[in-house]
Amino acid sequence: MRASFAKAAAAGDEAPLYFYSHLFLSHPEARKLFPVSMAHQRDRLFQALGDVMEYVDDLDRLVPILQELGRDHRKFGTVAAHYPAVGASLIATLRHFDHQWNPALEQSWAEAYGVVAQVMIEAAEAGADQPPWWDADVVTHERRTIDTAVMWLRPRPEFPYRAGQSVSLESDVRPKLWRYYSPANAPRPDGLMEIHVRAYDGGPVSTALVRRVGPGDVLRLGPPMGHIAFDPDSDRDLLLVAGGTGLAPLKAVVDHVARYGPARRVDLYVGSRTEERIYDRVDLERMAGEHPWLTVTFAVSGDDLSPLEQGDVGEVVVRHGPWSSRDVYVAGPAAMVEDTTTRLVKDGVRPERIRSEVFAPSRLGPSLDGEVTE
């Protein structure tokens, strides 16, 4: 089986191209579950299959992954009846690319796929007490800078999540393109949720969320995913370092401490290139004013005229150290996360105390490892 998969994988884009064309010709109704451009979808399919093949001998590992996938696929509108169709097209694809295909191989693949599908379907059914997705009304939408917006959503029905988690989000303006965002607040009694969006150049979803979505629009949310592994029960003091919209999950952590405790000192550093780009300054300063345990420091790396702290945020953080007694959370662009982590470790912070999350332009969703990655 591995050999025949390797043959299909060696065909590169041809194999998933064949697979999806075969699927859509056999089941035209499945086409509407996918976005217009399938290029990325094709990469993801074989990536996922490759991961399944890799873990196929390690069921303890594979089964939870498949269960998660099965649950998450509900938001795409996937139902049990779709699975045999996918299986048939998958086998047709493998057959097409394997010149030594034989009935025995076909039988093994059919059985293996049957097991995978069954695990996913059962997980999806077990999750049926939760809605497959949540509708969320945009309550307010505020453009803070030329490319950043902060909006408040009201999910229906109640949307259970924890501070630091991510949710996938889809808009009718860009159907079938799901992107991950982190709520910037801990769960509130009124259920409202704050979302920070930065429009990336040419990014279809982020630009639409910043410039085309407004109050009254309805977005869809997928189930929340484990993410920046915030440990709410530790009572160690916190150091939070944010770059760009990586601020969102860290602001949620601050909000969590404010709402639910335990009492701990929190130092939040927010890095930005220029002063104008600090999009949430007013609210952060308000919080710092309300909570004596919270300090907020802004740093700019490319704005000589600004009176704020000068330098890369990691540099500024270390300048104010030492932080060796803290739980540290870092979220932002890859370069910033790497730089900050390196500096902190060099400065004596134990690496296991540092948890980080990279905010990349297209956060398309978790890989099979459960990590949200590019």
Partner: protein, 255 residues
């Protein structure tokens, strides 16, 4: 056939309606009139067995019919598409993907250019605002510096000096107002410029355009553009993409 004959045949042959209709039981002994009850009982047993078997077979067949019926329905719906059809659809999909990627890349370049221009002009505006303020401060210093010279000029005394200072304050206020107005006009012009640049990059997003009016335009997916070589000058994306790749790789290794 006699009941006994029937009993012997039971292992090999099914009971037919004719068998039942024509069955003959032997006469019993003189002491007990009627049929031989052993034979009758045996026959009834056999009948019961036969009926049970028929029922079971019937159920089996019914299931089989269901399965076959489903298979027929499934087979009719899923006629495997020909390789030629698959190729045609694949080509069409690739063409669509190419268009989407191109549109997205164009939008990316336009937005990046617009952003660069916006930041450059904002920087210049800040600089020139700084210069204006600086010039105003110098002018004020000169006037204040000039004031002590006034009394030396003639005998009008302190009253005239106060009058002059008030004039100067009024003049400075007017000057500051003029500066502000000019600066605002300049910044607004910049903003319009940036909006129109952005508008060219993403016409649907301009505030004055109806929000849904352009939703029919081709869907763009950012990932696609990865396949299109990026012009080095357009953005910092290649560097970012590299970083992300490294991050993913690290995680996967760590897992």
């Amino acid at each position: 056939m006699t009941a006994d004959e029937y009993g012997q045949a039971r292992a090999g042959r099914r009971l037919t309606p004719g068998d039942v209709r024509n069955v003959q039981f032997a006469r019993a002994t003189m002491l007990r009139p009627g049929y031989n009850d052993v034979e009758v009982d045996r026959f009834l047993d056999r009948m019961a067995e036969e009926l049970a078997q028929l029922h079971a077979e019937k159920a089996e067949l019914r299931d089989e019919v269901h399965v076959l019926r489903d298979q027929v329905a499934g087979a009719a719906a899923v006629e495997p598409p020909s390789d030629q059809a698959v190729r045609i659809l694949a080509t069409a999909q690739q063409t669509a993907d190419g268009y989407v990627a191109e549109a997205e890349d164009f939008s990316r370049q336009m937005t990046a250019d617009a952003r660069a221009q916006y930041e450059e002009q904002l920087r210049r505006a800040k600089e020139s605002a700084g210069e204006i303020i600086h010039a105003a401060q110098e002018a004020a210093a000169r006037m204040v510096g000039g004031a002590p010279a006034v009394p030396a000029e003639g005998g009008s005394g302190g009253e005239r000096t106060t009058q002059e200072l008030e004039d100067q304050v009024a003049y400075l206020k007017a000057f500051a107002q003029a500066c502000r107005v000019q600066l605002r006009a300049y910044l607004e012009a910049l903003l319009t410029d940036v909006e129109s640049e952005w508008g060219r990059a993403d016409p649907g997003s301009l505030p004055q355009a109806p929000i849904r009016a352009t939703s029919h335009r081709p869907e763009v997916s950012r990932n696609v553009a990865r396949e299109v070589p990026l012009d080095d000058s357009t953005s910092e994306r290649p560097a970012v993409a590299k970083g992300e790749g490294a991050e993913v790789a690290t995680r996967r290794r760590g897992s």
